[in-house]
Symmetry: C2
Subunit: 651 residues, 2 copies
Amino acid sequence: MDDLNLPEHWSCPVLTGLTPQTDGGRWPVRRFLGDEMTVQADLITEGHGCIAAELLVRHEHDERETIHRMALRHNDEYLASWTLDRLGTWYFRVRAWADPFTTWRDQFAHRVESDDPEIGSELLVGAGLLKRSAQVAGSKDKKALLRYAEAMETGSAEAALEDKAAALAQTNDPRASMIESETYAVLVDPVLARFAAWYEFFPRSAPYRNTGKKTSAPHATLDDAAELLPRIKELGFDIVYLPPVHPIGHTHRKGKDNTPEAGPGEPGSPWAIGSEAGGHKAVHPDLGGLDAFDRFVARARKLDLHVAIDIAFQTSPDHPWVREHPDWFLQRPDGSIRYAENPPKKYQDVYPLDFLSKDRETLWRELKSVFEFWIDRGVLAFRVDNPHTKPFAFWKWCIRELRKQRPELIFLSEAFSRPKTMYELAKLGFNNSYTYFTWRNTKDELESYCRELYDSEVGEFFRPNFWPNTPDILHEYLVQGGRPAHIVRLTLAATLSSAYGVYGPPFEHVYNEQHPDREEYASNEKYEVRSWDWNDPDSLQPFMRRLNRIRRENPALQHMRNLRFHDMDNPQLLAYSKTFGDNRIFVVVNLDPHHEQRGWLSLAPGDLGLPEDRRWDMHDLLGSRHASWKGSTHYIRLNPQKTPVRIFRAG
Amino acid sequence: MDDLNLPEHWSCPVLTGLTPQTDGGRWPVRRFLGDEMTVQADLITEGHGCIAAELLVRHEHDERETIHRMALRHNDEYLASWTLDRLGTWYFRVRAWADPFTTWRDQFAHRVESDDPEIGSELLVGAGLLKRSAQVAGSKDKKALLRYAEAMETGSAEAALEDKAAALAQTNDPRASMIESETYAVLVDPVLARFAAWYEFFPRSAPYRNTGKKTSAPHATLDDAAELLPRIKELGFDIVYLPPVHPIGHTHRKGKDNTPEAGPGEPGSPWAIGSEAGGHKAVHPDLGGLDAFDRFVARARKLDLHVAIDIAFQTSPDHPWVREHPDWFLQRPDGSIRYAENPPKKYQDVYPLDFLSKDRETLWRELKSVFEFWIDRGVLAFRVDNPHTKPFAFWKWCIRELRKQRPELIFLSEAFSRPKTMYELAKLGFNNSYTYFTWRNTKDELESYCRELYDSEVGEFFRPNFWPNTPDILHEYLVQGGRPAHIVRLTLAATLSSAYGVYGPPFEHVYNEQHPDREEYASNEKYEVRSWDWNDPDSLQPFMRRLNRIRRENPALQHMRNLRFHDMDNPQLLAYSKTFGDNRIFVVVNLDPHHEQRGWLSLAPGDLGLPEDRRWDMHDLLGSRHASWKGSTHYIRLNPQKTPVRIFRAG
């Protein structure tokens, strides 16, 4: 027999699409505090029937839903919005029902226009629909509905066309035709996850002051490092990010330039965490211990700077966990603990943790408590080392639980992994991510990568943080291109993404000597204490300061998905704009650090909210060569020695 | 307390995407008989773990699933394919599990290359993984696995690297880490839903032969109409589509040009179905009744032509249902039956059915039986009139049930409704759809519409059928452009879509006189019997014949989603190609029916499988001006009076 599943005596709307959503609702979409959240439901019904639709919204800490009436825009798309004025998770769903009175009224209005002889009998039909609503209405609405019905029954076409009547009929519809969507979630992150400039440096390389403490000089303490904070603040950065500050192991400690054994006095890599002085909850004695750390955070907070630390869940062979919890590590057949390797590469100074060990519950809770320990000391931003080599389930649980207490936390994923893995980590909870930006240097590469990040569904959950360099990566482009290349890459990072960071000291001094075998710095600071001339008059500091000020003064640069590229007939010239409200920023970059490049920029002024038929001002934000533009084509000439980039504010 | 949901002692792969699917699996995707179906699963796991994946496939009439191993292409995408060699619904799902032996072996191979001193102890680890598989393997595999394990334990690196060992380990993995996707469906339609040329004509206008029967002359019978079938076949059409052939009502019968009342002898609109002579299961006596219909179908079948009829679920006031089932219709307050109207338009000769009436079950079953009645008489293709004004639930049920018995049926949806409604009807079961093609006449319009239909997710379920005209639509372009416009539109319909149709008689005679008030033919055949000169020497018949032969001889024109537009520097010239295997068809069209147009066509020969560095042949399929092309730019000149379009076969 066939299975005829008869609908009831009414026809329900069909929901053919609801946006935004991520993976069909498997993950929340992501927004930032203060954003306007717009939900669109595509609703259809047979024939010419009208539909009433509502968006129901609830913050995770609220009991009750707020109802927003959805308005039909066009092409069967119904929309409603609300403001995400609290951090954390919000839930939303849509419901819709057939609206027979409005359907009737639309036809009735045509009848009135065309003096249809049926108007009298049609009024009886409409009155019947109002009475249908009156049956389920509260006493006040009921009375009003019956009053309209009566007026219509006695021939009043005016009553039938009053908006009030339609609104009453719609609200009090018996809703037998109502359909409801699934419930979807939107996770609201702090604005700092969207708009922030990060500055990374190794505190042990700060200017060293002999304070009488016994440290292996030249090795600065966090108190020394704190002396740099006013300068970093003054350069316009928001977050100071410190590589691991924990005690460093002795066993198989790496020497200068990652040589297999450290010589006497060599400090080792901060990522080889743990010694007899403690593990992930301790601070290296040479950095001044926990007290110095607390003073560093307090100093930063006074300057309105955030401190980010590095979370690297691995240990040196000397970490207390190795003794206390040998079952948290992988063993080799001979019973020894397995060190990290990616054959043929071996990292004898690092033990990975076995996240799936028998005792994993204790391990996972201990790892979560590492975050909690630092959160209690005032750290709200974490750069997480290699999260893709740990179970997704761990991060999902750990970040969700931490965020329950502190929804303002920042988790920056350092997963230089394959794209789908990077995206999965963002979906499950990371709210900032390193990207491939460092390796995207040509115009095509930059445009297509930004389109992938912002214009595809990736933009619903992934928040890029662009870095031109890191202690692990010094790209050939910076090596070959020198100072102009540094200016170009910093500008791109700071304007293509509203969240960016820089490994400061070598970058600002245009130090770009590359290791002979690897895409990283020679005399890498990971393995040795470096001393930088913090007051070098030729440094990029003035440029950095200006760039960060431009970001702060222009809301357009504080958002991510508002990026738009413009046609430029020279493949070495990249042109783009960002708009927010009436703030319009144009950036033009000469990607060739060696030669002057010229070309014609094409843009459609009307699309950008600029006048089609008269001039507008272009304020030169990096210099003082203000201009006045008109129309859609503009000549650009950039000399990398003088002006590798230009940033304009339009209007 | 936090809810730590610990994973087991292994890590499961994560499925981040499965394609193809429609609306997250709410509807089946659609394919055609003989298609290769490729399923892609995006699978990731933490770190460097390898994954094994399988696609499980089952036809609806099979009990057991067939297993296809999925191969990793790149970017974490796993693929497998099978051939859809049966009509109806197939089900598929994916499962995947961590493959620790292959993970180990990849690392081990690096160790062997680099002469790692750990090789010996690593072999023990690998042997342990084989033994793990052996525990769950059948006796034959178990023996082989243990043999490999033993060889490895005694130091054989060669054994570890044998592909056989990895395959055995993978297949016999205990699969504790296995994940399974949902089950998805793919609905396989007959090739005729993809590749067919439809010819519509009014049988009553066929050349009239006085056979002695009493008909209201001039009114041909279906026996007369059958005499046209050899000609239609010879023109290369596949499906003959007849407007409703049922008895026509008398009450409020429309006259010539849709005037409110027919004069004596006027035949009425075939869509005003039903009279004392019967309803949806009867044939108009003037057409010769059911027997003549049966003879018509038999004659068509002999010619290998399919007959499509019109299913219009509405009645004239004289339909037997009105008497027998007044409760199937909507009533007005005065108790009379409500006729169709779309205020201010009124259709007094047509009663809509109330699909949601109290007695709806009887009604729905009766309507389904209308299809069954005609299917039993040999009709396998149905053009369904205005399906969007009937409940989606009705079509979903009706088409599904009919298709259970006859999966080869064709349902052409005539829903000139809003896009989302048209798409919903396709999702729920229609396997051919009228489109907006008729109103897409400029280059931009045609390109963007085809991209929407083929290149977006719409292409997974919607099968366009392009019509340059219908009895309801005569577009201004045909009115203004005359013969060249007719050639252009027919070529576009027949080559942009592999399924197309034409309301033949006026089109082939370039009859394009428009009604003064409406976008339709003057002296519309819907309301009167027309007589056409079927042997007009100036007709488009030779062109139609040639075009249909080109379609039949070139597989590239028999597919839908293989369309690709090419750059052409003149907005009046449209250029595109279709490729299937090594069959490559190029079409260039002058959209301007009044003036010669010239321009440069740009294409990338390599992308089209053509040589980059030498000439290839371009066979002129409509004429004999064969050419030989080389490189990426080609000059095109089209004179609408002589050659409004050109079709080439390349290579």
